[in-house]
C-alpha cells in the first residue's frame, strides 16, 4: 500500500487522520527504511520552530493596519475612476417626463367624453345619427343609443323633424324591429 505525497505531509506534521495513519502503519510493516519523501517532510518539520522566531521589528499589528489602509485606498481609487451613467439623467428629468406622461393619459381619458370642458353656456345642439350598429342622440356630453348588429341587413333610415329611425332584423331572434331615437 502506497501513501500519497499529501498523506506523507500530513503524517509528518501529525495532522493525518485515522485512515492515513493506518495505511502508513500497514505500509511500513515489512519495510526496512522509511521512504525518501517521508524523510524529507520530517526534516522540514524539524526546521519549522526556527521560522517562528521572527525579528523584534516584525510587528504583526502594524502590518495589518498598513494592509487595511492600502486596501481602502485601492477601493476608493477604483471607484473614482469607474465609469457610470450620468445620475442626473435618471433624476428630475425622468420624473418630469413621467409626470407629463401621466397627465397625458389622465387627460386623454377625461376628454373622451364629448365637450366635457365646453362652456355650459354653449348652445344645445342635438345630433341624431344613424349608422350600421346603432341610432344615437348626442347632446353635449350625453348620448342615448339604440344598438343593433352591424350586419342587420339594409337599414331603412327615416329622419327629420326631431327623430331618426332604423328598420332591421335582429340577428339573434330574427325579429323584425323598428328603432327610433327622438331629440324632442
Amino acid at each position: 500500500m502506497r501513501l500519497s505525497e499529501k498523506e506523507c505531509a500530513l503524517l509528518a506534521g501529525n495532522d493525518a487522520g485515522f485512515w492515513p495513519r493506518l495505511k502508513a502503519r500497514l505500509a511500513s510493516r515489512g519495510a526496512d527504511a522509511p521512504r525518501p519523501d517521508e524523510t524529507a517532510f520530517a526534516q522540514i518539520r524539524a526546521e519549522m520552530p526556527r521560522f517562528r522566531e521572527l525579528p523584534e521589528y516584525f510587528a504583526w499589528d502594524n502590518l495589518a493596519a498598513e494592509m487595511k489602509a492600502n486596501i481602502l485606498v485601492g477601493v476608493e481609487a477604483g471607484e473614482a475612476i469607474r465609469s457610470r451613467p450620468a445620475p442626473v439623467a435618471v433624476g428630475w428629468k425622468a420624473g418630469l417626463a413621467f409626470a407629463a406622461l401621466a397627465l397625458v393619459v389622465v387627460s386623454g381619458y377625461w376628454w373622451r367624453t364629448p365637450d366635457y370642458f365646453a362652456s355650459q353656456e354653449a348652445p344645445v345642439v342635438s345630433l341624431l345619427e344613424a349608422r350600421p350598429g346603432g341610432l344615437e342622440l348626442q347632446n353635449r356630453e350625453t348620448a342615448l343609443t339604440v344598438m343593433y348588429g352591424r350586419d342587420s341587413g339594409q337599414l331603412a333610415l327615416s329622419g327629420g323633424l326631431g327623430s331618426i329611425r332604423a328598420d332591421y332584423v335582429d340577428e339573434e331572434t330574427g325579429q323584425l324591429t323598428v328603432a327610433h331615437v327622438y331629440s324632442e
Binding site: A64, K68, E79, P87, V88, G91, W92, A94, G95, F98, A99, A102, V106, Y109, W110, W111, T113, Y116, V124, V125, S126, L127, E129, A130, R131, P132, G134, L135, N139, A143, L144, M147, Y148, G153, Q154, L155, A156, L157, S158, G159, G160, L161, I164, R165, D167, Y168, V169, D170, T173, G174, Q175, L176, T177, V178, A179, H180, V181, Y182, S183, E184
Partner: protein
C-alpha cells in the same frame, strides 16, 4: 478587520443634486396617482347596477304584463369622467288582451340625456295569442358624465299595442298606431306575395326571390345618415336651391308639384316640397321617400322624411309647402388603402317619391311594390322590413323554415 465605512463607500454613487431628489419624488407621486386612478378608468359593474337605470311604468290596465326581465350582458362602465350603461335585456311579456297582438311599441324616456330625449323599439309582425308569453329584446346605451351627479333613470312605458283587427290600445304619444298599422299593411302585402310565389312557382320560385333579395341587400351601399337640427359640418358653400325629381305613381293621393334642396358636398340642406292633395279625402300625414344618386353614379335608398312637422290638414285639392329644417349628412365606410374609413358620400341628385299618406279617417296609403305601375327604382332599391326578415330566415334556417313561417 473592520468593514469600510458605509458613508464613504456610497459617497460617489448617491446623487447630491437636490433637483434630482425632487425628480424622484415627482416620479413616485405620478406613479402613485396613476395607480390610484387606474381603477377609475375601467371600473365596471354588472347587471345589478344596470338594472337600477330602468324604471318600468306599465299601468295595471295595460294589455301587456311584464313577466320577467333577463338582464343578460348588461353592465355599467365608468371610463374617465363618464359613465356608460349598456343595457342588453330581454323583456318577457304576456298578452293579457282577448285577441292576438300583431305589434307593439316600447318607449324609453330619459330627461338626463336631452330635454325630452327618448327612444323607442317597435316590434311589428308579431303573432301573439291571448295568454301567450313572448320575448322583446332591447339594446340601449346611455352615456352621461359622472360630474352631472345622480344616476340617470330611464322610464320604460308601453306606447301602444296593435291587435289582429288593427285596433289599437295605448297612449300613442309617438304615433305608434300609424307606424304599426303601416308596417302591418306592408307585412301582409309581402307575405301575400311570397305565398302567391310559392303557390304559382313552387319552392324554387320562392327561393329564387329570397336569393335576389339577399343579393340586393349585399350590393346596396351601407350609408350612414346624420341629421342635425342646425350647424353644418363642412365649410363648403351650399348650392342655390336645386330642384329635384319626383317619381310619380298613378294612384298616389298626393302629387309633389315642385321640390328643391341645397347641396354642399355630402350635405342636403332644408329640402322643401310643395304638394297637392289629389284625393277626395283630407290628408293628415305624409312621408317622402328619398333615393340618392352620388357623383359616382350609384343609386341608393336613403330613407324617408315626414312631409310635415306633426299633422297636416290638407283638404282635397289643397296645396301646402313643407320644409325640412336642419341638415342631412351622408357618409359611408369604405376600404381606403387597406383601412376602413368613413368617407362622405358626394351627393349628385336626389329623387323623391310619396312613400306614405294617412287620411283623416286613419286609413293609410302606401305604394304597392308589386303593382306594375310602381316605378322600378322603388321596387328594386328599397327592401321592405318583412322582405328582409323573410330573406334572413331563408338564409339562416333554410327554405322549409320559410315555407312553414308563411303558412302560419
Amino acid at each position: 478587520m473592520k468593514k469600510p465605512d458605509n458613508s464613504r463607500w456610497h459617497m460617489f454613487t448617491r446623487n447630491r443634486n437636490p433637483l434630482a431628489r425632487v425628480g424622484h419624488l415627482g416620479a413616485r407621486l405620478a406613479l402613485f396617482a396613476l395607480l390610484c386612478l387606474t381603477p377609475l378608468f375601467g371600473q365596471s359593474a354588472g347587471a345589478e347596477a344596470a338594472a337600477k337605470y330602468l324604471k318600468f311604468e306599465f299601468p295595471a290596465s295595460s294589455p301587456l304584463r311584464l313577466v320577467s326581465t333577463d338582464w343578460g350582458r348588461s353592465r355599467v362602465l365608468q371610463r374617465g369622467s363618464a359613465a356608460t350603461a349598456e343595457l342588453h335585456l330581454v323583456l318577457h311579456l304576456e298578452n293579457r288582451a282577448t285577441q292576438p297582438i300583431h305589434g307593439l311599441t316600447l318607449l324609453f324616456v330619459t330627461q338626463d340625456v336631452a330635454p325630452g330625449g327618448k327612444a323607442s323599439i317597435s316590434l311589428p309582425g308579431l303573432r301573439v295569442a291571448p295568454g301567450e308569453t313572448f320575448p322583446a329584446k332591447v339594446d340601449l346605451r346611455l352615456l352621461q358624465p359622472i360630474a352631472v351627479g345622480g344616476q340617470p333613470q330611464v322610464a320604460v312605458r308601453l306606447d301602444g299595442v296593435l291587435f289582429e283587427d288593427l285596433s289599437f290600445a295605448g297612449d300613442n304619444t309617438l304615433n305608434s298606431r300609424r307606424l304599426l298599422s303601416a308596417l302591418e299593411l306592408e307585412i301582409q302585402r309581402d307575405r301575400r306575395h311570397a305565398r302567391e310565389l310559392l303557390h304559382a312557382g313552387g319552392k324554387e320560385a320562392l327561393a329564387r326571390e329570397m336569393r335576389e333579395i339577399l343579393a340586393r341587400r349585399e350590393q346596396a351601399p351601407r350609408v350612414d345618415m346624420q341629421w342635425a337640427r342646425r350647424g353644418r359640418a363642412t365649410t363648403l358653400p351650399a348650392s342655390e336651391p336645386v330642384r329635384f325629381a319626383f317619381l310619380n305613381m298613378p294612384d298616389s293621393p298626393l302629387r309633389p308639384l315642385d321640390a328643391s334642396v341645397r347641396i354642399a358636398a355630402n350635405e342636403a340642406i332644408e329640402p322643401t316640397v310643395r304638394v297637392r292633395n289629389l284625393s277626395g279625402r283630407e290628408i293628415r300625414y305624409a312621408e317622402i321617400g328619398w333615393i340618392i344618386r352620388d357623383l359616382d353614379g350609384r343609386e341608393f335608398y336613403a330613407g324617408t322624411l315626414p312631409a310635415s312637422d306633426g299633422e297636416i290638414a290638407l283638404r282635397p285639392s289643397g296645396e301646402t309647402v313643407v320644409r325640412q329644417g336642419g341638415v342631412l349628412r351622408f357618409s359611408e365606410r369604405r376600404n381606403v388603402n387597406g383601412r376602413m374609413e368613413e368617407v362622405p358620400v358626394r351627393l349628385g341628385e336626389m329623387v323623391g317619391y310619396v312613400s306614405q299618406v294617412q287620411f283623416a279617417d286613419g286609413s293609410i296609403w302606401m305604394p304597392n311594390r308589386y303593382q306594375a305601375s310602381t316605378p322600378e327604382a322603388i321596387r328594386s332599391l328599397r327592401l321592405s322590413p318583412e322582405q328582409q326578415r323573410l330573406a334572413s330566415l331563408y338564409a339562416r334556417q333554410g327554405l322549409d323554415a320559410l315555407v312553414k313561417d308563411l303558412s302560419d
